[in-house]
């Protein structure tokens, strides 16, 4: 249903006539500009007197300084550091002007006087001296440096170095392999005292049977067992070592079946509904002759694992969802209109452009398909098998969305992280290829994880109190994909991870038996990147506030998160017609029927399909944010994720506005509630006799979970001036397209045309 499109990202580049008004002379640098380097980080090349462009219109805010390429990042050190902005997340590993090399999408050098441009790859020559360097980043930033006052040769060298080092020949050249080795040894002393298992990480990694056992117990999947046939990756190269399978299937059977599946990926249990139905994912069976037989056996086993012997529904994801190339090309288009096209130009017919990119359409398609799976699991008591060619892309998105909709546990921070760990990292999503960290094969690149995060955001946008974390968390998580220091997003499979980390441990003299979580940590240890204070921006006040306590009869009780709310009995049975959802595609053929087709003969709308009734019933009841959540899916309900797509766009930034102003007020309120609660505990403490009296200052200072604290009555409660719709990010200096302001549009177009015809095409070929 989705056509395959060429997916090579194309960037329009606009070359206005040469700017001659920027002949600002600068003094010699008086102080030495030193980069701040991580352990193991070395400077490869550097150039002085570089101008970092801040705005397209004028050069007056531009920063002068030194541009440095290290083996980890591109760093710019301004001569006069501008006053630290309060409105920013301060990253512990990256400075304000730093870009990890892994985050570079395209390195473009420009020579304005000669009208030349070249996209630089690894090990290339550059025939002209660049006057400008434009870095297109994977996190959607566009950063521009000018070399009008810099030494031409040094400038050229830095550009080539950046291009070269951002195209590592081997995964082990990614900086994480250097950094984590050093960090491990240098921080050894600290760890010995009071070391905790797994370095204190609470998120299960699912690399050992106990994590799976706990998940089986938590979901009550008593007819499923942890199976170790893939220990040492004996069966499949891409499955984890421990998987969960039906009790009725013996190891011997599984081994026998495995040879027929793509990459020996036998069916993999994901999750169990309290009603007993299971969510399972698997790869295609290659041999059509065997398919029926094996399908039957596997499905029988799944049915046997269902206490009510519920039927098994198979969903072939390749047939009903866009493929990875479609997704990539949609992302390229939405990125184009959000950050690359000149702002004013894309203002006209904005919604049409958004529609044409198809990004939101795909987001809807995935949410919708997942909602249909929810119907089978929740409404029909059936087990669901997600099937996909390799079971490593679309399945990851759908299985994790289904679980987010059905199980409130995954809407907590730890739960969400365990979900990503289970359905993406351990299930063998090819992060290395899909992120294209080595920039080897553009055809394999596809932003599936980003698509998933967008889908989560849509749910969060519709059910703002249902998630423990915020959109800031999702955005920071997406940015972390481009920092090559965490093991989470670096590998294509658990096996690849294990191999590389074993070699790594050997090379770095890390003792055998040391936990890889300790020596090469995943992203989930957020203290690697952010201060405790900044991490509180991850906390959703509405979730925290509701979860903290609920007051009944004057007693403060801990909020009970009931699993039972799954059952529909809680919500009454009235079948009123509200918010009914349309049935979907394939297995549900009545697409589009409910809405419009009032038959000319006035016959009442034909009987709804069961799935339509299920959705209609569900939407007719108030949503229980701690129960099943199904997103609304009309086009009006699916919105562009502005924080992610527009945070760097200065023209789109609302000063003093945006959803953050509501978040600010909510946070203060929740903080105040928490202060009151701790006081309550304090007062009740002595009277009950058993609890020790907490210190008068309360448990507060370090445990307060809100970024914005309750203000004292004397303070103004007006949101602080630095809040904007981009908070906690700032567009300043992070999005610098080549401007067309001040140039008559026709002149600009002429210039572009001449320029295109002569130079670009020849030079663009990488």
């Amino acid at each position: 249903m989705f056509s395959v499109k060429p997916l090579k990202p194309t960037f329009k580049c606009y070359l206005p006539p040469v700017q001659t008004d920027v002949k600002k002379t600068i003094e010699q640098p008086i102080k030495k500009l030193e980069p701040s380097l991580l352990q193991g980080e070395i400077v490869v090349n550097e150039v002085n007197f570089v101008r970092k462009c801040i705005s397209a219109e004028s050069s007056q805010d531009d920063l002068w300084g030194k541009l440095i390429c290290t083996n980890f990042k591109v760093s710019f050190i301004p001569q006069d550091a501008p006053p630290k902005q309060k409105s920013k997340l301060s990253h512990l590993l990256l400075g304000e002007h730093d870009i990890p090399l892994t985050c570079l999408e395209q390195v473009v050098t420009v020579n304005d006087t000669k009208g030349k441009k070249k996209v630089l790859g690894s090990n290339q020559k550059l025939k002209f001296n660049p006057t400008e360097l434009i870095l297109y980043c994977k996190d959607l930033r566009i950063i521009r440096f000018c070399f009008d006052e810099a030494g031409p040769e040094s400038a050229k060298k830095v550009c080539l170095a950046i291009a070269h080092y951002s195209h590592p020949a081997d995964i082990q050249l990614l900086f994480g392999f250097e950094y984590q080795g050093r960090r491990y040894h240098e921080s050894k002393g600290e760890r010995v005292n009071g070391s905790t298992p797994r370095g204190g990480l609470q998120t299960p990694i699912f690399d050992r049977p106990s994590d799976w056992d706990r998940e089986i117990k938590r979901t009550g999947a008593s007819e499923w067992r942890v199976c170790a046939i893939n220990e040492n990756y004996a069966i499949s190269q891409s499955l984890p070592e421990y998987i969960v399978v039906p009790v009725s299937l013996a190891d011997q059977d599984l081994k026998q079946y495995s040879i027929f599946y793509t990459d020996q990926r036998i069916p993999l249990w994901c999750w169990n509904h309290v009603n007993g139905s299971a969510l399972v994912r698997m790869a295609n069976i290659n041999d059509p002759l065997q398919q029926k037989k094996i399908d039957q056996r596997v499905f029988t086993a799944i049915t046997k694992s269902h206490p009510q012997r519920g039927e098994v529904v198979r969903s072939d994801l390749d047939k009903c969802l866009p493929n990875i190339q479609d997704i990539q090309s949609a992302f390229v288009k939405i990125r184009q209109i959000c950050v690359i096209d000149p702002f004013e130009e894309s203002e006209e017919r904005w919604l049409t452009s958004v529609e044409n990119s198809r990004w939101l359409e795909f987001v809807r398609a995935f949410l919708k398909h997942s909602a249909e799976m929810v119907y089978y699991l929740e409404g029909k008591n059936s087990s669901v098998v997600l099937q996909e060619g390799e079971d490593r892309d679309l399945s990851c998105v759908v299985s994790s969305l289904v679980q987010l909709m059905l199980d409130p546990h995954y809407r907590s921070l730890i739960g969400f992280q365990s979900l990503v760990q289970k359905e993406w990292v351990m299930a063998g999503h090819r992060f290395l290829d899909r992120c294209n960290h080595l920039k080897k094969n553009d055809k394999e690149e596809s932003p599936l994880f980003m698509l998933f995060l967008d889908c989560v955001w849509q749910m969060m946008n519709q059910y703002p109190a249902a998630f423990e974390f915020t959109e800031t968390y999702l955005t920071v998580l997406s940015d972390s994909m481009w920092i090559p220091l965490f093991s989470t997003f670096l590998f294509n499979s658990p096996k690849q991870r294990a191999q590389y980390l074993m070699d790594f441990a050997k090379n770095k003299a890390i003792p055998q038996g040391e936990d890889q979580v300790v020596y090469f940590p995943p992203v989930w240890n957020w203290s690697q990147q952010l201060s405790i204070k900044d991490q509180t921006l991850f906390n959703n006040p509405m979730y925290v506030g509701k979860g903290a306590a609920c007051v009944q009869n004057g007693e403060v009780k801990t909020f009970r998160r009931t699993k039972k709310t799954y059952s529909s009995t809680m919500r009454g049975t009235s079948a009123s017609q509200r918010n009914g959802l349309k049935g979907g595609e394939e297995p549900l053929p009545r697409r589009g029927s409910l809405l419009s087709e009032l038959k000319p003969d006035f016959s009442p709308v034909k009987d709804e399909s069961p799935i339509e009734r299920f959705f209609r019933d569900w939407f007719s009841r108030p949503a229980d944010q701690q129960g099943v959540l199904i997103p609304l899916l009309m086009p009006s309900h699916v919105a562009l994720w502005k924080l992610f797509f527009l945070r760097w766009v200065p023209e789109a930034c609302i000063p003093k506005g945006g959803p953050i102003t509501a978040y600010h007020k909510l946070s203060q309120l929740v903080d105040e509630i928490e202060i009151l609660q701790s006081k309550l505990r304090q007062y009740k403490g002595p009277s009950s006799g058993s609890t020790p009296l907490p210190s008068p200052s309360g448990p507060l200072s370090d445990q307060r979970r809100m970024y914005f604290k309750a203000s004292s009555p004397s303070d103004s409660s007006t949101p602080p001036d630095y809040l904007s719709s981009s908070f906690p990010f700032t567009p300043v200096g992070n999005l610098c397209r080549r401007g067309i302001h001040g140039t008559p549009i026709s002149k600009f177009l002429n210039g572009a045309r001449i320029w295109l015809s002569t130079e670009t095409l020849a030079n663009d070929t990488v």
Binding site: L351, V551, Q552, P622, S636, L666, I673, S717
Partner: protein, 664 residues
């Protein structure tokens, strides 16, 4: 939360069903509501309106209640209950038609089919009163109610219905609020035709009948007519001062019949000169002050176009008038005129004896055209929008279809124009004059939006009412002509949704600054619903003069009486006073959205999800409860510690109360 979920179970939750007029308890609303003589109506109104936004308030509102266009299971129970217990007071009709005080039944027809575009045919009883059309059905498992006030009807159309027997007629009610319900019914002899009865009461003015607002007998504890006192409002702005005076020159509407009786004009000008200026301005709408900047003394002045004509007429008094306005502001030696029109149109207007100020005759004046199309373009744009949102939408082309209506583009133009005006005052410290052709459509939109950006007072619930009363109602926006209250001439080209467009702009601002406005979305939708309903006198007639002649303030109820009798329902719980903050909305397509919870609200599939403010309200309740507990325990503790240890003495007795607005 659990408590409320329980309440929802017995049919009437808290949510919008709360008791009227400020009691915070969330009791069993059914009984308490009807207890008060007027409560039933208030509740009913609220339910109807709430239908459109709070479709899924978590655990607190039984969803069935809040839906005009749908089955209303529990609602009917609640009706039954109240009919039984308080029948006398509520005045339930035999078919359970709730009547407003002053409302009378006209006809009731059985076996009518409602052709619901979302759930098929519904068979039931259609009742018509002099205020509304009320359709009920008990055919399906849960009862169905459709309630349409007659004021909202733009035209009645007969439609063809097939296969329903000989005597069946089809009827479509084309409404001003983006829906068109359709019915099929059997005609019977000796029975008055439904269409006739409907037409009579939907268009009372065309049938020499009074508007329903004059029959409505509700009594509210708050008198909304007292909301706007022009003198008090000008006093708030620091007027009169040495340059500006509050003039009674128009007290009997002789100078200008479409202006209010109280005007603020420069001190240094004689009545004679003013009269000459009036002759030179279209409809005699002379430049008068709308708003003055508290610091720079820069002013927003509004008027109509100058009658320059093809021969480039001049008027010395008009030129001097603008000079005086410029001089009244010591901070700037310039004056900026914003002409809302497209420059080409302004030029064409010269041929029709209108025109614009020539920069060569008015020294130091800068003229800007804001290029906003006229009322006909806006009407057409909204008409297209209706096709996009009702009854069904084209899912695949939803976004491009919205683009094609250009509605958001015009919203963008308006907001951009208003932001320019506000910025000229705030940053440029320069006084501005705003006009279009007559100065009662685009001018009202622009001045009121600019004032909303500049003055945080107008962002409060009361302040916004004052803004509408002042810039729109008193300054003669022709509501009767633009809306067509009670008039059957639906094709009248005077009609145009300019006020809707203004409210949409306000909504866009509330989306960008979710904490800066004291009122909520329900308030804005309520205002728009009663723009059409003819239930309240607020938006009736074209000018202050007409309203005073018809004794509107004596004979009808103000919409603000209703709103201000239960302000908590219309209050935004996120509100913090952005005092002294000028708020410029970001005028970009990226941030302008279709207000689907207003325009597309009739489609049950289109409703938005759990409103965030619900959660905040729960948190506010929680905080109040905790605060109460803490104080209680503090008292206990201090009485204990008098005799024993002083362990508690150093625990803070001061609670760090955030100065949050509490809606509890």
């Amino acid at each position: 939360m659990e408590k409320q979920a329980g309440a929802a179970g017995d049919g009437v939750g808290s949510g919008p069903n709360r008791k009227p007029w400020g009691s915070p308890t969330c009791g069993p609303a059914a009984a308490e509501t009807v207890d008060s003589p007027t409560g039933s109506h208030v509740e009913w109104c609220k339910q109807l309106i709430a239908a459109t936004i709070s479709s899924q308030i978590s655990g607190s509102v039984p969803p069935d209640i809040v839906n005009r266009d749908n089955k209303a299971g529990r609602r009917a129970d609640f009706m039954n209950l109240s009919a039984l217990r308080y029948g006398a007071q509520v005045r339930m009709f035999q078919n359970q038609v709730p009547l407003l005080p002053g409302e009378t039944m006209q006809t009731s027809v059985k076996d009518v089919m409602y052709i619901c575009p979302f759930s098929g045919l519904v068979n039931g009883t259609l009742t018509i009163t002099d205020y509304k059309l009320y359709f009920t059905s008990v055919e399906r498992e849960s009862p169905f109610i459709l309630d349409v006030n007659l004021g909202v009807i733009s035209r009645l159309e007969t439609i063809s219905v097939h296969n329903q027997g000989e005597n069946t007629k089809g009827l479509e009610l084309v409404c001003k609020d983006m829906r068109s319900p359709r019915f099929a019914y059997k005609t019977e002899e000796n029975h008055p035709d439904v269409v006739e009865v409907l037409a009579k009461h939907a268009f009372p003015l065309s049938h020499s009948l009074p508007l329903f607002a004059f029959l409505y007998k509700e009594q509210f504890p708050v008198d909304g007519w007292k909301v706007y006192d022009p003198t008090a409002e000008y006093r708030r702005q620091g007027l009169p001062n040495e340059s500006w005076t509050i003039s009674k020159i128009n007290s009997s509407y002789e100078l200008c019949d479409t202006y209010p009786s109280i005007l603020v004009i420069p001190t240094n000008i004689t009545d004679e000169d003013i009269k000459r200026v009036a002759v030179f301005r279209a409809k005699h709408r002379i430049p008068v002050l709308s708003w003055i900047h508290p610091e720079s003394q820069a002013t927003i002045v509004r008027c109509s176009q100058p009658l320059v004509g093809p021969s480039d007429r001049r008027c010395k008094e008009d030129e001097r008038f603008l000079q005086i306005i410029m001089d009244a502001n010591a901070q700037s030696h310039k004056l900026t005129i914003f002409d809302a029109r497209q420059s080409s149109v302004a030029v064409t207007n010269k041929a029709k004896d209108g025109g614009y100020e020539s920069e060569s005759f008015y020294p130091n004046v800068e003229l800007n055209f804001l290029e906003i199309p006229n009322i006909h373009v806006m009407r057409e744009s909204l008409r297209k929008m209706k096709d996009v949102v009702y009854p069904t939408i084209d899912e695949a082309h939803w976004h491009s279809a919205i683009d094609q209506t250009h509605w958001l583009e015009y919203i963008r133009l308006l907001l951009a124009g208003a932001a320019k005006i506000a910025d000229k005052l705030e940053s440029g410290k320069t006084s501005v004059v705003v006009h279009c052709s007559d100065g009662w459509d685009r001018t009202a939109q622009l001045t009121s939006l600019a004032m909303l950006m500049l003055d945080s007072h107008y962002r409060t619930l009361r302040g916004f009412q004052v803004l509408m009363e002042k810039e729109w109602i008193s300054f003669g926006h022709k509501f009767a002509a633009r809306v067509g209250h009670g008039d059957e001439n639906h094709a009248n080209s005077e009609r145009s949704p300019l006020f809707v467009q203004f409210i949409d702009c306000v909504w866009q601002m509330t989306r960008q600054f979710p904490a800066a406005f004291e009122f909520n979305e329900l308030f804005l939708i309520t205002v728009l619903d009663h723009l059409y309903s003819c239930l309240f006198g607020t938006f009736l007639y074209n000018s202050e003069q007409e309203r005073s002649a018809k004794e509107v303030q004596i004979k009808t109820v103000s919409l603000w009486s209703y709103i201000n009798s239960q302000p908590e329902d219309f209050t935004n719980p996120f509100y913090v006073d952005y005092e002294h903050h000028v708020l410029y909305p970001l005028v970009s397509s990226r941030h302008l959205e279709l207000w689907s919870s207003y325009y597309a609200r009739w489609n049950p599939h289109m409703r938005p999800q759990v409103p965030v403010h619900q959660t905040l309200k729960e948190l506010l309740i929680l905080r109040a409860e905790l605060q109460r507990r803490v104080e209680e325990l503090q008292r206990e503790a201090s009485s204990h510690s008098l005799s024993s240890s002083s362990e508690h003495s150093h625990s803070p007795t001061h609670t760090p109360g955030t100065p949050l607005h509490t809606a509890v």
